[in-house]
């Protein structure tokens, strides 16, 4: 089912999402990938505040290519989410509502998604030029020294994603294999 939703998202809408739904997101996403997650993890260990509000927000696992003059961002597709599996459950327990990435998640992440009523979306991997067209602004808000891995606040408009793991823990990757595998 096609849905057009605002991010941050109304709880009721988030809980109604099902694995396989095609969703167009409009609103704010925060980018963070490997190095930013490591720093956030260390900040939490040191009892420091995180550089962005987690409560109700969504993280996009993405490190863009540089923007050309006059453009908000360069190529901007998802990176492999499983590298953030070590950090994600803690962030979800602290109020993060959703993640946009690509690829499988660990069972720990799936459990944290169920426990906290969250969602994991995939954007199409390797479609960074196309996805960049749904990003209208980008601003580095923390860890600027990390370059492409800095934390950015993005404004997105009709940004296309697919629900992979819904708040009940249904997983589209598993469903897809059951449906389409023709292996003996």
């Amino acid at each position: 089912m096609d849905r057009h939703l605002k991010v941050p998202m109304e709880e009721q809408e988030l809980l109604s999402l099902r694995a396989g739904d095609y969703v167009y997101l409009t609103g704010t996403l925060y980018t963070a990938r490997d190095a930013a997650h490591k720093r956030m993890y260390e900040a939490l260990r040191a009892g420091e505040k995180l550089p962005m509000p987690l409560e109700g927000n969504f993280i996009y696992y993405m490190g863009p290519s540089p923007a050309r003059e006059g453009r908000p961002i360069g190529s901007a597709g998802p990176t492999t989410a499983s590298r953030m599996d070590k950090y994600a459950p803690e962030l979800l327990d602290l109020g993060l509502k959703g993640m946009v990435g690509k690829g499988r998640r660990s069972e720990e992440v799936r459990q944290a998604i169920i426990r906290n009523g969250c969602v994991y979306f995939a954007a199409v991997g390797g479609a960074g030029a196309l996805l960049s067209k749904s990003i209208t602004s980008s601003r580095v808000i923390a860890y600027e020294d990390l370059g492409t891995e800095a934390i950015r606040e993005l404004t997105v408009e009709e940004f296309p994603v697919i629900v992979v793991i819904d708040s009940k823990g249904n997983n589209l990757y598993d469903i897809a294999l059951e449906q389409y595998s023709k292996e003996e």
Partner: protein, 283 residues
């Protein structure tokens, strides 16, 4: 004694810079054709939609000059140097790294290389590239640039099989690597396979296999048939475009082989996403 041909390192740097930019914005014709064919044959509605987006993505990348994928890769460069070539103007490797530096900086490509695998400080210009040199007959220098994204690189594997594992063992190893890669490797993938040689030779063959056009089968009928069989079996896995289910999981399986030791059967599987990029120039 045959005539030597002189190649200036400045020409090498210039070619490398241009190729880095070209490879990150335009796929080769064989890849474009394979993706377009997949769009027609895909059975899953969501899979078809993903393949449509990939086509659209290629058009936008070319027209608006935005890299096809934000992971513009670590630059892998194959340099075949004719033994009648004389290089002038400095150290060849410096020129190649300079070309990469310029291409990634001037071309608005992402800088994805860290100076040390553990301290992980970004070098800021995507150098160094990984360079493989080969001396060949003739008086030309052939440069192939294959920027390699790590979503798929991370899902690559090497298996040191036993001779008794035979063809079945080889096929199972390849299918295992592809299944484990699944949605993480941005399918539809291209599967580069190196069979034989030693530990590092198999890996190098697998990497090189990815630069062979996806519509060209192995010259050896036995391995050509194996490529075809594996492609069909991989596409029955159901993984599909983006891992969201369907009949297009791989666009090609390219196998390269080399003689090996009586005790061994190395198999390397280098997986590449649908952005299987490369540019080739002969100087």
């Amino acid at each position: 004694m045959p005539e030597m041909k002189t190649i200036q390192t400045s020409a090498v740097a210039e070619a490398v810079a241009a190729m880095c930019i070209e490879a990150n914005h335009f796929l080769t014709d064989d890849m474009k054709a394979a993706l377009s064919r997949a769009g027609e044959s895909e059975i899953a509605p969501l899979g078809k939609q993903v393949l449509g987006q990939l086509q659209q993505n290629l058009e936008i990348a070319g027209e608006d000059h935005i890299p096809i994928c934000q992971d513009t890769g670590m630059a892998v460069i194959f340099v075949e140097i004719g033994q009648e070539v004389h290089i002038e103007g400095g150290f060849l490797e410096d020129a190649i790294q300079e070309g990469v530096r310029r291409g990634y900086t001037e071309g608005y490509l992402r800088k994805s290389v860290v100076r040390d695998p553990l301290d992980r400080v970004n070098t800021g210009d995507n150098t160094p590239a990984v360079i493989h040199y080969q001396i060949v007959p003739g008086d030309e220098m052939k440069i192939t640039i294959a920027p390699k994204g790590f979503g798929s690189e991370n899902m690559s594997r090497i298996f040191m099989l036993k001779p008794a594992d035979g063809a079945e063992g080889v096929k199972n190893a390849i299918l295992t690597a592809v299944r484990d890669a699944g949605p993480n490797a941005c399918p539809p993938m291209v599967v580069g396979v190196g069979i034989g040689g030693t530990f590092e030779k198999a890996a190098l063959l697998a990497k090189k296999a990815l630069t062979r056009p996806v519509d060209r089968r192995s010259a050896d009928p036995y391995y050509s048939a194996m490529e075809q069989e594996l492609l069909e079996r991989i596409n029955r896995s159901g993984i599909g475009p983006g891992g969201l289910g369907g009949s297009t999981t791989a666009l090609a399986v390219n196998i390269e082989t080399y003689p090996t030791h009586i005790a061994g059967l190395p198999v390397a599987v280098n997986i590449c996403c649908h952005v299987n990029r490369h540019a080739v120039r002969v100087l």
